[in-house]
Symmetry: C2
Subunit: 166 residues, 2 copies
Amino acid sequence: MNFTKEQKETLMQLAFDQADLAQQQNEIPIGAVVVDADGNVLGTGYNRRELDQDAIKHAEVIAIQEACAKLGTWRLENCAIFVTLEPCPMCAGAIINSRLAQVYYGAHDPKAGAAGSVVNLFTVEKFNHHPEVFPGLYEGKASQILKDFFGAIRQKRKAAKDLKKN
Amino acid sequence: MNFTKEQKETLMQLAFDQADLAQQQNEIPIGAVVVDADGNVLGTGYNRRELDQDAIKHAEVIAIQEACAKLGTWRLENCAIFVTLEPCPMCAGAIINSRLAQVYYGAHDPKAGAAGSVVNLFTVEKFNHHPEVFPGLYEGKASQILKDFFGAIRQKRKAAKDLKKN
């Protein structure tokens, strides 16, 4: 698979749009899209952990499940995933299990990243699948979205605290 | 959490029953149950990857999602999971994400086990949750179920090959 710069920009923008849908519902803004080798969208997802009160509902898992349903197979061998944040272990495992060929991600996750930041599940030799990984795609924007989200939460908390004091 | 020997046997048997449901439908026989601190069943699951053509549908994920739905929260902090096979990276990640307190598993998985056999995600210091892990519960039976399943598949394949030759 060989996406052009324009395709990568467009597909990452779709992942950002998904993150935005999460943010609009006060979820941590993380978005993902699964596409075929021509860049056609097969699945989209955004973090819905709080909305659904479901620990599994990360952006990547939702997008992968939608893509599996669309193609009628659990094997996404000729497909790629674009995601705004480095996958956690569960999502990296889901990517391995679904045989996705390529992983493009935005921000690094120093707390839970499983594509190199904390562990790297994509390079474990014994596993039966090793996707190509393209880290740091539009990383600045990807990081900023999360910084802004958590910054706003801190500000709200501080404002609530100050209000309590007075 | 401190289950008695009898509770552990009963709960592991429920996981075996789930594995049996998978086997009856020609799925790799893996089963899981999520229980609360008193051993009440909150969720059950068996491998449905082929049935649903969905890479995410491992026994553990299904049981965790059912438990989250039952309790109305993604936090399964006072709960345990019993599973017939060592969790893969996706399922180990799902266990971490759902904050399950304890993991009991049967057979080790030398190809994809993420509780020590290939990697150990439960002891990674940087991750924000570290469940207690009890490996090898009824390991003999747990291994035998899988050996029998794959043995039967090999036999069927051989029989089909022999039939073609004659």
